[in-house]
């Protein structure tokens, strides 16, 4: 894991610009890529692909169900369509199309969900997306991938395109710290241990990865060794890695820019409950809608800041001690 992350973390860099550039790069290497948008290409930066490959770009207007269905027709004919609109519109308005044709019938369509989580911060809760992991994860055959920084977007997008079957690729609107070095080589379906530690494991995705790394640095000064695992693939979930972390650190914290219901935390809880029960603390939006505001302040207010991770680690440690004292009393009974 050495050398996978920058120290210190890099300066903030725009995720959507990285996405637009990665799309263009992909367009050069793969002639079967077709990009579609529901008239938000200036928002999600797929306009960069439109400029480079106008003959392989389709704007269906503000019509998200048709966006997905047109992509289904393209996929049936051997294209690899990447459909673009806001994450919440895929997860809600176009969901029946996704369920019927992608998840059920296997259409090889990729969904790039822009403005994921709270990242469309000023536009408010109607535009924010905190249920998409839960919704897409529950669909058989769906793959759910969440890059954590601009480099991750560039490294994961070609894998998303090459993956056999539908993928939901969840993107962030904003500038985020550059987390990874060039040695970072993510593979869909495999979690990545970024920071070693044996006191507590935090399993994070998306913009919470940088925050988890910051938390690990703070905790190191208090002699608490926080393991940081990046789970960029919510489904299929790397359950072997989660069980190993539970065995080795005895307690888990999850951190995601999503509701605490049904997302990464929910997936980890299911895995732990069946495979290796240990205390779990979930960081996420606490079953509520957020509001308009500056992005980082919004994340802080809704419990997604570094402080929230630090507090969760302390709670986890306390529960770990209670757990181990229980175990001890069992032994000496």
């Amino acid at each position: 894991m050495d050398g996978l992350i920058r120290n210190p973390l890099g300066s903030p860099s725009p995720m959507r610009k990285a996405y637009g550039e990665a799309l263009v790069e992909l367009g050069h290497t793969r002639k079967d890529i077709v990009v579609l948008s529901a008239d938000v290409q200036s928002s999600d930066f797929s306009y960069m692909f439109e400029a480079a490959f106008p003959d392989r770009f389709i704007n269906v207007g503000i019509a998200e169900p048709a966006l997905v269905d047109v992509a289904v027709g393209l996929a049936n004919s051997g294209k690899v369509p990447i459909a673009n609109t806001f994450a919440f519109l895929f997860a809600t308005r176009a969901l029946e199309m996704v369920r019927t044709h992608l998840a059920f019938a296997g259409a090889n369509v990729k969904l790039a969900g822009a403005y994921g989580g709270l990242s469309d911060s000023f536009d408010g809760p109607t535009h924010q997306t905190i249920s998409d992991f839960a919704i897409f994860r529950s669909l058989p055959n769906m793959t759910v991938v969440v890059p954590a920084d601009p480099l991750a977007v560039r490294k994961l997008l070609p894998q998303v395109a090459a993956w056999k079957g539908p993928v939901y690729f969840r993107l962030c609107r904003n500038e985020v710290p550059e987390v990874f070095t060039d040695r970072y080589e993510p593979k869909i379906g495999e979690g990545v241990t970024l920071v070693d530690g044996d006191d507590v494991t935090v399993i994070a995705c998306g913009v919470m990865v940088a925050r988890a790394i910051e938390a690990a640095k703070t905790l190191a000064k208090q002699d608490i060794r926080l393991r940081v695992v990046e789970m960029h693939t919510i489904k299929p979930l790397d359950t072997e890695l989660i069980v190993r972390c539970a065995e080795e650190t005895g307690v888990i914290v999850t951190a995601e820019e999503h509701s605490i219901i049904g997302g990464l935390g929910g997936a980890v809880a299911e895995c732990l409950a069946e495979r290796f029960p240990v205390p779990l603390e979930r960081i996420g939006v606490k079953d509520t809608y957020a509001e308009s505001g500056p992005y980082s302040e919004l994340l802080e207010k809704y419990g997604l800041g570094v402080d929230a991770i630090l507090a969760a680690v302390q709670r986890a440690l306390a529960r770990k001690q209670v757990n181990s004292s229980h175990a001890t009393s069992e032994v000496f009974k």
């Binding site: 077709v34 003959d55 392989r56 389709i58 269906v60 207007g61 019509a63 169900p65 048709a66 269905d69 047109v70 992509a71 289904v72 027709g73 393209l74 996929a75 049936n76 004919s77 051997g78 294209k79 369509p81 029946e96 199309m97 019927t100 044709h101 059920f104 019938a105 296997g106 259409a107």
Partner: protein, 300 residues
């Protein structure tokens, strides 16, 4: 070179695209439409489940497409340059399965497994299970937008393959249909022909009562489609309309096929109850007799 003239495994005769529409050919296809209705009746009666009314209304349309108009290869159902047929009104799939089987995509003997456990013939179309089925359907309204995507792909490939979609009139209630209409018109997809099986009846009543869609031809025309209206049980009109649609340049084409739900069985025709109704044994015998008579009338 189109392989559409390949003899089907079960030997049902195919009139290759371009064959002159002789009276004998037209009568033969019209007769088969009645035989396929009888097959659908047996399947639904046997399983005590399925949708007869909407299957009967599209019998001639499907027969014309699969035994004459489409460029397809049952031996190679995934041949990329095949014509595509999007069967949007998925509940009527007993007729699609019957036609596909007789066209040689899978054995006719498999048809009675319709809607049973372990069958390839699911209650609604599932492309991964059934050879010849292009897309999933059942949830209504998907057909036009999916077909538009196929037509865009054909254009990108510089291919002359054509895209067809069969819609019910009830599913015109669905908003995504009209999203698809706008998309196809925007891109002037003249390699796309949509056929509306306009039988005037949906699950709980007439379309006029449930959700009025008339004047339907004006609506499609206003969306910049070329509109052809025909009698949807008249085989000669269907065959001619499909040819004319192929010749239209610069616009997608819709064929409004005026049909009768439950066509061919007097007590089923135009009755919403036969959208998903199951005949009892007396009704089965009576319906079968009517359909056999319908076929006999077309026998030279």
């Amino acid at each position: 070179m189109s392989p559409s003239s390949t003899e089907s495994r079960v030997g049902a005769h195919v009139y290759p695209h371009g064959t002159r529409h002789s009276e004998a050919m037209t009568a033969d296809l019209a007769r088969r439409a009645y035989e396929y209705r009888a097959q659908v009746l047996r399947m639904v009666y046997g399983r005590k489940s399925g949708h007869i009314g909407g299957a009967f209304s599209c019998a001639e349309i499907l027969t014309a497409l699969y035994f004459h108009h489409l460029s397809i290869d049952p031996e190679n159902p995934n041949w990329n340059d095949r014509d595509r047929l999007v069967f949007s009104k998925g509940h009527a799939c007993a007729m699609l399965y019957t036609v596909l089987a007789h066209r040689g995509f899978f054995p006719v003997e498999e048809l009675p497994t319709f809607r049973g456990l372990d069958s390839r013939l699911q209650g609604h179309p599932e492309p991964q299970k059934t050879p010849g089925v292009e897309v999933a359907a059942g949830p209504l309204g998907h057909g036009v937008a999916i077909a538009a995507g196929m037509a865009l792909a054909a254009r990108m490939d510089g291919s002359r393959r054509r895209i067809y979609a069969i819609l019910g009139d009830g599913e015109l209630n669905s908003g995504v249909i009209w999203e698809g209409l706008m998309t196809a018109a925007k891109f002037a997809l003249d390699n796309l022909t949509v056929i509306v099986d306009y039988n005037g009846v949906q699950q709980t009543g007439t379309t006029r009562h449930v959700m009025p869609t008339e004047p339907i031809a004006d609506k499609w025309a206003a969306f910049n489609w070329h509109v052809i209206e025909i009698h949807g049980h008249n085989m000669a009109q269907i065959l001619d309309a499909l040819d004319r649609a192929d010749e239209i340049h610069g616009r997608p084409v819709v064929i409004i096929a005026r049909t009768t739900k439950g066509k061919g069985v007097s007590f089923m025709e135009n009755q919403p109850g036969w959208h998903g109704g199951i005949p009892d044994s007396a009704q089965f015998e009576s319906a079968l007799a009517e359909l056999e008579e319908g076929a006999r009338l077309w026998t030279a």
